[in-house]
């Protein structure tokens, strides 16, 4: 066998041996070593090249070509083997990092607003959007703001209907826990007039109120939102328009309203307001006592004596007012069956109603 044939054979053996070794390699590290062993500066192929010196010069390029060919074959095979191992290694890693995605997520504590607060927020927002300014007033009131200025003089039978909590004497005059948010009407009108001289004014006044009454359907503390507007030519039609818009927005559906003549000392005419039952769409059910209507609030045109008590000329200006019970509306909207749940503060209830 000639020198050149022997070198060729040596190269072929080397190449097939190497290819077998590459495909048998089990990790990237051994492949790396093989690259050095075969293709490195002192690798097997370089060794073969060293034998070229023994060849006649005209044959040397031939072997050179062979060696280069082998080099590129082996290099390509190494790349493929490496890529294959990398894929396998990643697949293995991914498999090793597999998790149970059905396990519950890590939770931080989650809070929730009280349903009354959500109701107050929603109601106040609706009136704010309609241009009513938000006002507040003290919860411990004097008789003037809670009664007298609202056209409820001391001997008035309506005064007795209010189940008023009185506080023990402090200061010069008897004080009480306000029985409604209507005193804010008086305070807001006085403040407003002092600032801007004359109507128009439109106010929404949310807050806590108190009645000395405690049973299944009464809480000694509850929340009201007082709404009123005074301007030239404010009419009962405006009252109905605002009520309809508010109630439809709050209940997130078109509700029908019905006004029934009633009596409140601070309004004339006065009306109780019913909405078409939101549970049975007016067909009659247990909630509406088969009437198809649910009473939701009291309303009316502000009595001239009330306007007079703050110095507004009732010949020139008129106004409407209404006060709504927050808990009652929230109960209707959220389907809460029992008023007492609001003040029991069971966290299971709060979480459920807060979501």
């Amino acid at each position: 066998m000639s020198e050149i044939d022997s070198l060729k054979a040596q190269l072929e053996t080397l190449q097939s041996e190497a290819l077998a070794a590459f495909s048998a390699a089990i990790d990237l590290v051994s492949l790396q070593q093989m690259r050095v062993n075969y293709l490195g500066k002192k690798g097997a192929l370089t060794e073969v090249l060293k034998g070229v010196g023994k060849l006649p010069p005209q044959e040397r390029p031939v072997i050179g070509q062979y060696v280069n060919q082998s080099k590129s074959v082996l290099s390509a095979a190494l790349d493929i083997a490496e890529a294959g191992l990398a894929v396998a290694a990643k697949a293995e890693r991914v498999e090793a990092e597999r998790i149970d995605v059905t396990l519950p997520g890590r939770v931080g504590a989650t809070g929730a607003l009280h349903p009354v607060q959500r109701g107050l927020d929603e109601m106040t927002a609706i009136f704010s959007q309609m241009g009513f300014a938000v006002a507040e007033g003290p919860e411990i009131e004097n008789e003037f703001h809670n009664f007298d200025a609202l056209n409820i003089p001391p001997e008035h039978p309506a005064r007795a209907m209010h189940d008023t909590f009185f506080v023990e004497q402090m200061g010069d005059e008897p004080m009480l826990l306000r029985t409604h948010t209507s005193p804010v009407q008086i305070r807001a009108m006085k403040r407003f007039l002092a600032e801007s001289g004359e109507p128009p004014l439109a106010v929404v006044a949310p807050g806590r109120v108190y009645r000395c009454d405690y049973d299944v359907t009464h809480s000694p503390m509850f929340h009201q939102v007082e709404v009123f507007k005074v301007d030239r030519d404010v009419s009962m039609a405006h009252l109905k328009g605002v009520l309809k818009h508010f109630l439809s927005t709050y209940f997130e559906k078109e509700v029908s309203i019905r006004l029934r003549p009633h009596y409140f000392p601070f309004t004339e005419p006065s009306a109780e307001v019913d909405i078409g039952c939101v549970f049975c769409a007016g067909k009659g059910c247990r909630i509406c006592k088969n009437s198809g209507w649910i009473e939701v609030l009291g309303s009316g045109m502000i009595h001239p004596n009330v306007l007079k008590s703050v110095g507004i000329d009732s010949d020139e200006f008129s106004g409407f007012a209404f006060g709504l019970g927050v808990e009652r509306l929230v109960m209707l909207k959220q389907g809460i069956p029992d008023l007492r749940m609001f003040f029991e503060n069971d966290v299971r209830f709060l979480r459920r109603m807060g979501s």
């Binding site: 809070g111 607060q117 241009g131 328009g241 003549p261 004339e268």
Partner: protein, 790 residues
């Protein structure tokens, strides 16, 4: 107030159904709380006759009856009553009948005997609260007839809630007037009645000293009445109308009052001494009322007296001794008009309510003062005999009888209502008693004397609105003003965002709870009429309410609780009181529950502190927490006041263990509160360029005296010292490690401080951080005697 339908129909020929009448009443402003249907409630109960009666073979107390109810076959009925005999007529509820008590009659077997109906007592028919056995009907009751028809039970009874302004409708005649006017019908005329006068019966001697409070007082003597119970029909009517029969005279007076609205009183003439005087009471004058109460009267109370004593608190209640009883023979009837405000005030003073006072304080119809007396005279003499004397009339009735007049502008009413007033509705108001005349835009109104509630244009606008109907008023959304939307108070919302559940508790707590957190200083605001001791003092701390909520929930398998409340605290002040807005937090039990990824963790001081800090940060504020052992109710060494700027804004700490246990809570409880009124808005975040050059981070670990660290210094002081010493380049400092134990002397604590230096214009060098470290080490030594840990 209850009014039977038949009474209304006696006054006005109504043809509508009870349901329609109820709707009409509501539309006219009379709230209908319910409509009872006594006759329909016993439909299916028929008059039956017992044909045979035999003992039940297997039960001593039961009888086997064969009953004829007018059907083709006799009914077999097993009956447990014992007061019936063969031949008796009884009410029989037939198969399919539903009784007022909800019982539905079905065919059944009772101890092996079949039963096809039920014999009824008054109780089962809803006619009485108790009975001695079956209701035995008169022998001439027609077999097979509906018992409701036979007993002439009311078709309907209206349960009404008359508003306080409509005293004129607290009786049948007044209510019928509204219904008649609305339906275009006329009221049935009342036949005038003048009793035959017996000259031997003297007219009572009456003097009215308090003419303002008593503009009219009528009295009449009737002698020789033979008093007994009132007739069954009257008693049945009174019961139907919600009143209890008392005795013949009282029943007649109540009956007339329910019909005409005029409350009257009857005295036993033989128990009176001398003439009657209607006057103001003297201070401390004694009065023993019919209800047994003994009152010390106030000057100004209106009383009716004889020569010796007070015989009635005018318009409210008679005395215990002067009233009629079974032995009464001669009576004095009183019918008067008492000034409403006077009755109201006196009634409230003594917390008394009577059917009479309810009507007087709303104002009675002046015309009925005399008509009522005549009607009562008529009924008393017809039922109980007696001879009648002249009426004594005292007082000045001209003012109360005078029809008041008013004028108003039609267009003004129309503008207020948002509708036009058609002239056709004037007739409805005329039928209601008003005089109505129109002159162009002017409305002349004559107000009937019984309408004490009408005096101004707005009152007439209500009258027009209710007769036209509120439904006729359109719904018009007024032009909306645009105003700057308010800056909403997000206090509670941010607390909720921090993981807390919002709660709402009562503003009143028990005094005991108040004292746990607030020392007695005379500034509590107490309720005069609390619901209970537990709700008797206006709260000056929100923590008691939060603890009660915690107790409720920890008792219900909640392992941890994080709640917050926004509300007011109430304090007495020199000039009156103030109401502070506060936000309060509470954490107790587990702050993290046991999970697949980790163990449970109990809430600690720093969980709550972190929440408060985050809440402050959300409004651009930073609080300084200063250890404070003097906060009442909190555990010394785990409590702090919270300063914002110089203002003391809040408090935080662990609830004293004994106090927590008083609320049945065994786990550590942490609370905080912030006075929202002292918070001013913090700095608004402003943009600053982000650092481009990397900073240098260095850790230094110091050994400090333990006592100096916790008690005197605190990590706040260390951070401040480092900040000051670190120079301008120092951007951040924090305590990253606290250690005591192995390797650290017993009285020392190891404190690791990490600080970052940064410059906007260059990369910092080793020299920079060495210089800062040296300055910090020197400052720590100087301030705390702290040495670097080797």
């Amino acid at each position: 107030m209850k009014i039977p339908f038949s009474w209304l129909k006696e006054q006005v020929p109504l043809t509508s159904t009870p349901a329609q009448i109820a709707d009409d009443l509501v539309r006219l402003g009379h709230e209908v709380e319910g409509v009872e249907m006594p006759r329909a409630a016993v439909a299916g109960v028929r008059v039956g006759q017992i044909i045979s009666k035999q003992p039940h073979p297997d039960a001593d107390k039961l009888s086997l009856l064969k009953v004829d109810v007018g059907a083709a076959e006799l009914l077999d009925i097993v009956c447990g009553a014992s007061n019936m005999d063969e031949g008796d007529k009884i009410p029989v509820a037939t198969i399919g009948t539903s009784l007022p008590n909800g019982l539905k009659i079905k065919k059944g077997q009772i101890r092996g005997a079949s039963s096809c109906g039920m014999c009824c007592s008054e109780v089962e028919l809803g006619l009485a609260d108790e009975s001695a056995g079956l209701l035995i009907l008169p022998a001439d009751a027609p077999v097979g007839m509906e018992v409701g028809d036979y007993l002439q039970l009311e078709e309907a009874v209206f349960d009404l809630s008359i508003t306080p302004n409509r005293g004129d409708c607290m009786n049948t005649r007044g209510l019928a007037r509204d219904l008649a006017a609305d339906a275009g019908l006329s009221l049935v005329d009342m036949l005038p009645f003048e009793a035959a006068i017996d000259a031997t019966v003297q007219a009572p001697k009456v003097m009215v000293s308090a003419e303002t409070d008593c503009p009219a007082y009528l009295a009449r003597r009737i002698e020789g009445v033979k008093l007994g119970d009132s007739p069954a029909w009257m008693q049945a009517g009174l019961i139907m109308a919600g009143m209890r029969p008392v005795n013949g005279i009282v029943d007649v007076l109540n009956y007339v009052m329910l019909y005409l609205g005029q409350p009257m009183h009857a005295f036993d003439a033989d128990k009176l001494n001398g003439g009657i005087n209607v006057r103001s009471a003297e201070s401390d004058e004694l009065f023993k009322a019919l209800d047994g109460r003994e009152l010390k009267l106030h000057a100004g109370d209106l009383v009716v007296t004889d020569q010796d004593s007070v015989i009635a608190l005018a318009g409210i209640m008679g005395s215990e001794t002067s009233g009629v009883s079974e032995s009464t023979v001669n009576i004095v009837l009183e019918s008067a008009f008492f000034r409403p405000a006077r009755v109201s005030e006196t009634r409230r003073t003594y917390a008394m309510v009577s059917e009479a006072s309810m009507r007087f304080e709303r104002g009675v119809d002046p015309e009925m003062v005399s008509i009522g007396l005549q009607q009562a005279t008529k009924m008393i003499t017809e039922l109980f005999g007696g001879v009648v004397g002249e009426i004594t009339l005292c007082g000045n009735t001209s003012e109360i009888n005078a029809a008041k007049q008013m004028h108003c502008s039609i267009s003004r009413i129309e503008k207020r209502l948002g509708i036009t007033l058609p002239e056709t509705v004037d007739d409805v108001l005329r039928r209601m008693g008003f005089g109505i005349l129109r002159h162009a835009d002017r409305l002349d109104v004559v107000i009937p004397p019984f309408r004490h509630d009408v005096s101004i244009a707005e009152d007439m606008s209500e009258e027009y609105a209710r007769v036209i109907g509120f439904d006729a008023i359109p719904e018009i959304l007024p032009a909306l003003a645009t105003i700057a939307p308010p800056r909403p108070d997000r206090s509670i919302h941010d607390a909720v965002a921090g993981g807390f559940l919002q709660v709402v508790t009562y503003a009143f707590i028990s005094e005991k709870e108040q004292r746990l957190f607030v020392a007695e200083d005379g500034n509590d605001i107490r309720l005069q009429n609390p619901i209970s001791d537990a709700m008797s003092v206006m709260r000056r701390t929100a923590w008691a309410g939060l603890l009660n909520v915690s107790r409720h929930n920890l008792n219900r398998q909640q392992s941890g609780i994080a709640i917050a409340e926004q509300g007011r605290l109430y304090n007495k002040t020199e000039n009156g009181h103030d109401e502070k807005n506060v936000l309060a937090w509470l954490m107790a039990g587990e702050s993290e529950t046991e999970q697949w990824y980790g163990a449970a963790r109990q809430a600690g001081f720093f969980d709550l502190k972190g929440a408060v800090e985050a809440w402050l940060a959300a409004r651009g504020l930073t609080g300084r927490f200063i250890a404070d052992d003097s906060i009442q109710g909190l555990q010394a060494g785990q409590s702090a006041k919270i300063l914002i700027g110089r203002a003391e804004a809040g408090r935080i700490g662990r609830v004293d263990g004994d106090i927590a246990r008083a609320f049945d809570i065994d786990v550590p409880v942490f609370v905080a509160d912030i006075n929202l009124d002292v918070l001013h808005a913090g700095k608004k975040a402003k943009f600053a360029p982000l650092a481009e050059f990397p900073g240098v981070e260095r850790d230094l670990v110091f050994l400090l005296d333990k006592s100096a660290f916790v008690r005197d210094a605190g990590s706040d002081a260390i951070v401040q010292t480092v900040n000051k010493a670190g120079g301008k380049l120092l951007t951040e400092t924090r305590i990253f490690d606290l250690y005591e134990g192995k390797g650290v002397p017993e009285d020392k604590v190891s404190v690791g401080v990490r600080f970052i230096l940064q410059d906007a214009s260059r990369t910092l060098t080793q020299q920079d951080s060495d210089a800062a470290s040296a300055a910090i080490i020197a400052a720590m030594d100087k301030r705390f005697g702290a040495a670097l840990r080797g």
